[in-house]
Amino acid sequence: MILLENASKLYANKVLALDGASFYIDRSEFVFIVGPSGAGKSTLVRLIYREELPTSGRVVVFDKDLSKMRPREVPFFRRRIGVVFQDFKLLEDRTVFENVAFALRVTESTRREIKRRVPAVLELVGLRDKQRSYPRQLSGGEQQRVSLARAIVNNPELVVADEPTGNLDPDTAWEIFQLLREINRRGTTVVVATHAKEIVNRFGKRVIALKDGQVVRDEEKGAYSNED
């Protein structure tokens, strides 16, 4: 489903964020991307949903070489991916319902479909009764659930998350990861870049470790770090 072949990313400011990374992630996998700050985790995530293109090497998602994708295909490509960020990226001036429905408006879903899908997905993340709240009225954990709900409301094949629990306390973080695991159980591929060492160790899923932009470790049922 996701294939990186010797992918490198050199930013305009001469920072080599990714240096010849290669790996393959299969359908329905749950993969952690770990590594110290500045190791290239965020860049890797951005390459997958095509916010950035690799400077050299290939990034192939859904059997499509992203460097060869035409700009007008990109929106349709993104609809197959749910993206979750550390800072939630919710629209402050819209209710929880509208934030989630937003992803469906974009795909021109019918009103009936929106009325059906949004409450269902909010139910899944446990926010059914907060539909009419605004993001600022919610706790950090709740906001991240809204963002998760928005990411999955389109039934994407892939969910990528960049430090989804970076702003949350450990208990709340655990709940978010439980949700990600639940999403994965339903068949969605999940790729999470994270610092949450404890959780990575407890989950026992595949771990791809980055250091200075290179893949230094890739293990099934891995832990955050071998040295610990």
């Binding site: 929106p75 349709f76 993206v83 629209l91 937003f102 408006r105 974009v106 021109e108 009103r111």
Partner: protein, 295 residues
Amino acid sequence: MRIRTWTYLVGQSFQGIRRHVHMSLASVTTMAVSLLVLGIFVVASLNLSYVAAVIESQIEIRAYLYDDIPAQGILDLEVAISSLEYVTGVEYVDKDTALSKLKEQLGPQADLLEAVEEMNPLRNSFVVKVEAPEFVALVASQVEELQGVAKVDHRQDLMSRLSAVIRAIRVSALFIILLLGVATILIISNTVRLAVLSRQREVYIMKLVGATDAFVRWPFFLEGILLGLAGAAVASFVLDRAYDWFLANVYVMLPFVPVLTKQPMLQVVSLGLFVLGTAIGALGSSIPLKRFLRV
């Protein structure tokens, strides 16, 4: 795009204004003020130009005749003058008419003339109108050479100065209107650009969930048009009221100054403001978006 998407996008453009009331108010106010300034200037220069045209049309040469010319000689002179180049009209004023006109002008002091009334010292004359001020000197010299003409009065220096002033006013008015127009466009598009910049995050999120560029751009475009319409409406309304006030006052304070009637001038000016406002609103809000769309 489907119809339900269009309804959603149109709704979004209204909501965009509601959600960003302050930004929208700032944009509308800026538009209204700059369009109003532009409008006032256009109206002012149209009127100046009108005044100039009226003055120009009143430019005249007065040719005084000797007293001993027979009626036929006067007729001949009239034909001779009107056949001169650049002459647009010739009117004969006999000395009695001239005296009674003078009396009228003097009003209550008309009895000053009683002493001279018996022997009327005024002369028969022709009032000659010419096409434009620059031809006055030429025509005057030709009239002066005609047999029977005693003296020609044409206030040449005043005429040439007046025509220079009128030309200067026209040129500078056009220049200032152009400058103001450019300034208006810059001010408005900058304000709208700021409003769009403040919503960069919103655009980014739209793109992340897979919105096409058209989907992102339409609400901004429609919003720009709505704000432009609002700004132009405010400017036109104020201009309309201001002109009513101006007309009411100018008739009282400067009764001899010619001014343009309100319509159709204001209709044309308002139409111009509406076109300018909506165009700048629409373009100003959708062009700066392009940069953010590259996500």
